[in-house]
Structures are given as structure tokens and as C-alpha cells.
């Protein structure tokens, strides 16, 4: 017992002697523990030191420890150490503004900080440390080094510097007062004279600061918004193109006009008044009118008289629009002409047939789209007797007047005056002009027109620059043209030409109908002789018309109540029809070689189809109130309608029923023949039938 006690006591003594008093408590504890252990033990005095040592190694089992078997105890458990922090999140997501979506962050910080304490230790060589030392002075370790330095320069301040630096500099510092070391020292501290130093700072005047700014006027701003559609871009390009074209034209013009130096300022009046609405107003007017006349428009387009299936040899005419104008009261329709180019436009010439009631005249252009108001209208001094629209240049209209004058109007110009006018000097007719017709342009590509008048002359007019130049083609006379030497005598009996027509295919061939009833076949080449004379009618011939298809056939109608069909190689008519009243006008249909229509003064329209009925009209229909006389008729080239004019200034449109528009049936198995040839063949058949009885009668 005493040995361990001694051992323990020896240890404690040692401890006390060596360490501080704070270790006494620990030693005392140890002592107490040793004593305790000894009490518990049964006093085994063998190996006291070992006892103590063993005591410390005894396992202390907690009461609820799991009892494991030997095998289980020896089981090895593998523990892997990784650097993955199990508490670190595995799927951090952040919003990315660039991609405007949530994105997973790639690398996730696995660092787990368990403990952090901000310290306040500085490295002794850092700037801050040096400054601190400079303020406090060097510690005692460096006193020996410093003393050497201090001896040589007493007035120099204590300078805590890097030890290495001082040691190296010590050797040479005595001789060199201006060493780097001392300069470095100076930098850190202000050199102060220790005996007489006073700080006397002074401050200079600070210039007063003043802010000077200026604000400019805001540039004018305006809000602009637009949509860039495909068509907006297209429009912009088109405008550019037009501008470029204009500039090119101006450039070329400038070269020409350099001499004249005329300044023509193009003023595009963008006035705010309503004139810009002109075009649009027209369209709207037509729309409104279409609504008003809706039924008629539907009829025009779609109505087909179904009763025609039951009546084989009859047809009807359906009245459509009526064209009337206030200003034309008292005037009669003297001529009608469809426009070749615009199929719904037609011209009406108005004047008076009455010798005593001669006054002004009018030329009106109507479109089927607007029956309430004419598209173009011109008032003329003298009554209009005839007019013709140029086949190709449909803006040129030739008009013949009652006073023998001829005028050409240009529809494109806005003036109410004609472009050209013939005067007494330039070969005006001395009697009313009954018919005018445009011809093909002559060799100089000047426009050319023909006219026939009661003064017995057929004259050709050429539009040369600004004038009408006339050339007389033929003088009509009553004689047969056999006596060649008596030309002057012959002309004493001038025939009054009332109508003429040019052959559709043979250019120089034309027919002239006269007031006496004779029809002359003439050629442009021969000015004195006729090729043929036909004793056609007893009274004045109102119209002669060549057939559109058959080259030999023509029609003539007259005031002697008859309509006659001729073959120009035969002097007698092929067919004669009696109408019971004076026939005002007759016209072939453009779609069939055997269909023609005639109008009479009793207000009836007669339509014939020779292939169906050779003797009677398919349709005889009064279309105007009884007192009105029909004066003219014309077929539309495209639509199945006809226009008829009466002596009250009213133009009526009528639709032809299907029976009147029949085309011959195709025989089964045969190819459908081409239309013109078919028509020609049709007519030829008829004519041959006619001729045979003639031949037989002659023979």
C-alpha cells in the first residue's frame, strides 16, 4: 500500500514542482482515483505499476449494450470515405435569364464547414503587422540588434523593420546614413525633430464647387407604328421602281428640252376636296344600281325561257334594261354601236329624222352596269345621224351629222369638243351623213374612215396629225356606168347614198344603198364605175349588211316594207320578207350565219333563223309602246342580247331566248366542225336550195 502511495505521491510532487498550480487539481484527482481503485481491488500487491496501468485499460460496459457473438464481432464492415457531402443538395436549380428557364447547376459545392472562427492573428511580415509594430515599438528580442543601430544614430527613431533587413544593413549603416533602410524608415514615419517639432498644418482655400448644366430642347418626337406585311414591302418596292422610272424619263426628256428650257412644275394637287373620290363614287354607284336592278341582272345572266322547248319554231325576247336620259327628250335614236373592246359599253347617237325639226344632237355612251346614267355624253350642235367606234382603238368615235359634218371624238380626253372636225373647206358633205365606218389604218398608220351621204359621195377621211384629210372615193350616180365618156352627165343624177357596208374579208369591196332603192357594189380602187348594181327596192334602202360568215351573202332593208337577202353574184334576191311596215334597220347575228333581226316602225322586232324557218320570223314581238317607232338594232358580240333604239330616245335591251340562238346539231360520230366553216356551210346549203328552183325556173 505504501508503495503505490509513494509512487502516486512522487508523481504528484513532481507534477507540482514542475508545472503551475493549475495542475494541482488534476493531480489531486488522479490521486483520488488511484486510492479508489485500490480500495476496490482485493489488494493485489503484485505489479503495482501494472495494476494502475491495467486499471486504466479496463473496459466499462454499459448495461444495455448489444451482445454479439464472436462471429458477429469479427465481421468486417467496410466503410468508404468519400468526399461527397451527404447533406449537400443534389439538384440545385437556378433561373437563367438567357435561356428563360430553370436550369440545373452543374457543380454542387461539397464543402461542409463544421466550424468557423474569425481570428485576429496577422502575419508578422504583412503591411498591417508592420504598421502595428511601428506604432508599438519592437519587442525585446530585437533590442540587441537595435542597440547597435541606436548607437550610431541616436536621433534616428526606433524602427521596427524586418530582422533580415536590419541584420544585413547593420554592417554598412554606420557609414551610409542615407541607406535604403533609413529611407524606408522615413517613409513610414514622419521625420520629427524631437526637440523642436511642432505641426503646423494649414489649409488652402477650397474653390467653391459649382455645378453647371444645360438642357437642350428635346428633339421632336412622334410615335410611329406600322405593320410590315408582305404587301407593304411590295408597295414600297413598287414606289421605288416608279420613282426610278420617272427619273430616267426626266433625264431623257431633259436632254431633249435643253434648248427650250421650259420649266414645267408638276403640281400634284393633293387637295382635300372630293375629286379624289370620283373613281370610287363610280364604283359605288354601279353597286347601288346593281342592287336596284338586281332582278334584271339575274335575268340577264341566267334566265332562259324554258317554254322554248315546247315551241320549236318560236322564240321570245325578254326585255331587260331601259336606257333613258332626261336631256334626250324629243330626239330619236339614230344609231347604235357596240364597243368591241369593252363588251358592256355601247354608243347611242341621237338626232332627228324629221327634216323640219332639226336641232341639237347627242352622243351617249352607256354601260350595261349602270343604266341610270351614261358613262360619257357629248352634246352636238347638229343632230347625229350615225356613229362608229373604232374596232381596235375603242376610244375613237366617228360621228356623222345632219349638217354633213364629220367629227372624231376621243373618249380619253375630258373635253366636250371633238378632236377633229370637217369643215366646209375640207370637203364636208353637203347633205346629211348617213353612215360612217372606220377602216384599217393606211400605210402611214393614220386612222382612216369612210362616210356616205345623200349628196352622192363616198368619201374617205384620214386623220393626219390635227386634220381630217379627205379623199373622194366614189360619186354615186344613177346610171349603170356603161357609158364611159359621159361622166359629167352621169353625175347630174346623183344617187343619194343612205347606207353602206364593207366586206368582212375582202377589203376593197363595199356595198352602197341609195335612196332610190338601188344597191351598188363598189370597189375602193375604181372611183367611176360600179362593179354591180342591184335593183333592190322601191324605196330608200335603210341598211345593207354583209353576213359575218358567208362571204357572198348580204342583207338589205328598206322603207318599202321588205327585207331582202342577196348573193352578190346573183342580181336577184335570194330571199324576200315582207314586214308589214317600214323596216328601220336590220342586223346579222354574230353567232350564226342564218340568224338576223329587223326592226319596224310599228314597234316590233322580228328575228329570223333561216335554218329553221325560211319564210317566217321566229319571233315578232312589240317591245315599245305603240306610238314609238323602232329605228335601230344591234347585236351584242358576246352576250345573247340585242339593243333597239326608238324615236323617243330610249334604248331597250332584250335577251334572246334559246330558240333564237340555236346552233346546228352535230351528227353523231362526226367531229364538231369549226364554227365559221359550219356557218358558211349552213348558208351555202340554203342558198343552193334556193338556186335550184331558180335554175329550174329559168331553164
Amino acid at each position: 500500500m505504501s508503495v503505490p502511495q509513494r509512487a502516486g505521491a512522487a508523481k504528484t510532487k513532481q507534477a507540482i514542482s514542475q508545472s503551475h498550480s493549475s495542475k494541482e487539481a488534476a493531480a489531486a484527482k488522479l490521486l483520488k482515483a488511484a486510492v479508489k481503485k485500490q480500495d476496490e481491488d482485493d489488494g493485489t500487491e503484485v505489479g503495482d505499476g501494472a495494476d494502475e496501468w491495467m486499471q486504466r485499460k479496463t473496459l466499462i460496459k454499459p448495461p444495455d449494450q448489444v451482445d454479439l457473438t464472436e462471429a458477429e464481432l469479427k465481421e468486417e464492415f467496410t466503410r468508404i470515405l468519400t468526399t461527397n457531402n451527404p447533406h449537400a443538395p443534389q439538384n440545385i436549380v437556378r433561373y437563367s435569364f438567357k435561356e428563360r428557364s430553370y436550369k440545373r447547376i452543374g457543380g454542387i459545392d461539397q464543402l461542409a464547414i463544421h466550424f468557423m472562427l474569425a481570428g485576429n492573428l496577422l502575419h508578422k511580415d504583412s503591411d498591417e503587422a508592420r504598421q502595428q509594430r511601428a506604432r508599438q515599438g519592437l519587442p525585446d528580442e530585437k533590442a540587441a540588434v537595435e542597440s547597435i543601430v541606436a548607437e550610431t544614430e541616436e536621433e534616428k527613431p526606433d524602427s521596427p523593420q524586418v530582422e533580415i533587413e536590419e541584420v544585413t544593413e547593420v554592417g554598412g549603416s554606420e557609414d551610409r546614413p542615407e541607406s535604403v533602410e533609413h529611407q524606408a524608415k522615413r517613409r513610414d514615419q514622419k521625420l520629427k525633430n524631437q526637440f523642436k517639432f511642432t505641426e503646423r498644418p494649414s489649409q488652402t482655400l477650397n474653390n467653391p464647387l459649382r455645378q453647371k448644366g444645360c438642357q437642350t430642347e428635346l428633339p421632336p418626337r412622334s410615335n410611329f407604328s406600322a405593320t410590315a406585311n408582305q404587301w407593304v414591302i411590295y408597295d414600297a418596292y413598287m414606289e421605288e421602281l416608279q420613282k426610278q422610272n420617272k427619273e430616267r424619263q426626266k433625264a431623257s426628256l431633259k436632254k431633249e428640252e435643253e434648248k427650250s428650257k421650259k420649266k414645267t412644275i408638276l403640281v400634284e394637287t393633293e387637295s382635300d376636296n372630293i375629286t379624289r373620290v370620283r373613281q370610287v363614287a363610280k364604283i359605288v354607284e354601279r353597286m347601288v344600281v346593281q342592287n336596284t336592278f338586281d332582278e334584271i341582272a339575274q335575268d340577264f345572266k341566267y334566265f332562259e325561257d324554258s317554254s322554248d322547248e315546247f315551241r320549236e319554231q318560236e322564240g321570245t325576247l325578254l326585255p331587260l334594261w331601259k336606257f333613258q336620259h332626261d336631256k334626250v327628250k324629243g330626239l330619236a335614236v339614230t344609231s347604235l354601236c357596240w364597243n368591241q373592246r369593252y363588251k358592256d359599253l355601247f354608243a347611242v347617237g341621237l338626232g332627228s329624222y324629221d327634216f323640219t325639226k332639226q336641232g341639237y344632237g347627242m352622243v351617249l355612251f352607256y354601260s350595261l352596269k349602270n343604266p341610270t346614267f351614261p358613262e360619257y355624253s357629248y352634246i352636238t350642235l347638229s343632230g347625229v345621224m350615225c356613229l362608229d367606234i373604232h374596232a381596235k382603238l375603242s376610244h375613237l368615235v366617228a360621228v356623222g351629222f345632219y349638217n354633213g359634218c364629220i367629227a372624231v371624238y376621243n373618249l380619253k380626253e375630258k373635253s366636250t369638243q371633238p378632236m377633229y372636225r370637217s369643215t366646209a373647206k375640207s370637203g364636208m358633205h353637203t347633205d346629211p351623213v348617213w353612215q360612217v365606218k372606220w377602216q384599217k389604218d393606211d400605210l402611214d398608220s393614220n386612222h382612216n374612215l369612210f362616210s356616205v351621204s345623200s349628196d352622192g359621195r363616198v368619201v374617205s377621211w384620214t386623220l393626219v396629225k390635227n386634220e381630217l384629210v379627205f379623199t373622194e372615193i366614189i360619186k354615186l350616180s344613177m346610171g349603170d356606168g356603161l357609158t364611159q365618156g359621159l361622166e359629167e352627165l352621169q353625175f347630174l343624177n346623183p344617187a343619194c347614198g343612205t347606207s353602206f357596208d364593207f366586206h368582212k374579208q375582202i377589203d376593197y369591196l363595199f356595198l352602197v344603198g341609195t335612196e332610190e332603192g338601188k344597191i351598188f357594189k363598189c370597189s375602193k380602187a375604181y372611183s367611176s364605175q360600179f362593179l354591180e348594181t342591184y335593183d333592190g327596192h322601191h324605196m330608200s334602202v335603210h341598211a345593207v349588211r354583209w353576213n359575218y360568215f358567208h362571204p357572198k351573202v348580204f342583207l338589205s332593208c328598206s322603207a318599202d316594207w321588205t327585207v331582202k337577202i342577196w348573193d352578190h353574184t346573183v342580181r336577184t334576191p335570194m330571199f324576200t320578207f315582207d314586214m308589214n311596215s317600214a323596216v328601220g334597220d336590220v342586223a346579222w347575228s354574230p353567232y350564226s350565219s342564218t340568224v338576223f333581226a329587223a326592226v319596224t316602225t310599228d314597234g316590233k322586232v322580228h328575228v329570223f333563223d333561216l335554218s329553221i324557218n325560211k319564210y317566217e320570223a321566229l319571233c315578232q314581238q312589240p317591245v315599245v309602246p305603240k306610238k314609238a317607232k323602232l329605228t335601230h338594232i344591234d347585236f351584242n358580240l358576246v352576250y345573247p342580247i340585242i339593243i333597239v333604239g326608238d324615236d323617243r330616245g330610249c334604248v331597250t335591251t332584250l335577251k334572246l331566248s334559246p330558240n333564237l340562238r340555236k346552233k346546228p346539231k352535230e351528227k353523231k360520230g362526226q367531229e364538231p366542225p369549226k364554227t365559221p366553216e359550219m356557218e358558211v356551210a349552213k348558208m351555202e346549203k340554203l342558198l343552193s336550195l334556193q338556186r335550184e328552183p331558180d335554175n329550174s325556173s329559168l331553164g
Binding site: W231, I274, V277, R278, M287, T292
Partner: protein, 101 residues
């Protein structure tokens, strides 16, 4: 020349107005402001505002389908009447008609 044109336009508008069943005519400029009208002010403003948008949309549609094409006119037929609009480059002409009158 100008006065002639003005007279012509005025006459055309008068004729339209005198047609059967026409209730009113409105002319509006490119921005939708009515210039001339035969209806009362409130109706005019209403028609102008609404139809202007409709025509712009229609025109845009037509031109989008084919930039070389352009709108000629627009008819809106309803139970009571029919509205006809004809647009020009800078003006619209609107006519309201009751065709069955």
C-alpha cells in the same frame, strides 16, 4: 377643270342618294375621319369607326394573299340592309342601302 370634277362628283353622289332604298352616304378619309355624310353625326361616327377597321383588315387579307392584288369593294349584306364600301387609296365611300324598299 377642278370645278368640273367637283361638280361631277357631287352629281354622282346625288344620283346615288336618289336611288331606290339608299339610306345614307358617308365619305371617310384614310384615318377614319368622316368628311361628308348624309346621316346624323352619331351614326356617322359610329359607322366610320367600325367600318374603317373592317376595310383595313379586309384589304390586308386580300393583299397578304397576293401582294399584286387589291381590294375593289366590299359588300356587307345583313338582314335589314346592305352596306357597300369602296376603298380608294386615301378615301372610303360607304353607302347604306335597303334594296328591298
Amino acid at each position: 377643270m377642278q370645278s368640273d370634277l367637283i361638280a361631277e362628283v357631287e352629281e354622282t353622289l346625288k344620283r346615288i342618294q336618289s336611288q331606290k332604298g339608299v339610306q345614307g352616304i358617308i365619305i371617310i378619309n384614310a384615318e377614319g375621319i368622316p368628311i361628308k355624310s348624309t346621316l346624323d353625326n352619331s351614326s356617322t361616327v359610329q359607322y366610320a369607326g367600325l367600318l374603317h377597321q373592317l376595310v383595313m383588315k379586309t384589304r390586308s387579307t386580300v393583299r397578304d394573299l397576293d401582294p399584286q392584288n387589291d381590294l375593289t369593294f366590299l359588300r356587307v349584306r345583313s338582314k335589314k340592309n346592305e352596306i357597300m364600301i369602296a376603298p380608294d387609296k386615301d378615301y372610303f365611300l360607304i353607302v347604306i342601302q335597303n334594296p328591298s324598299d
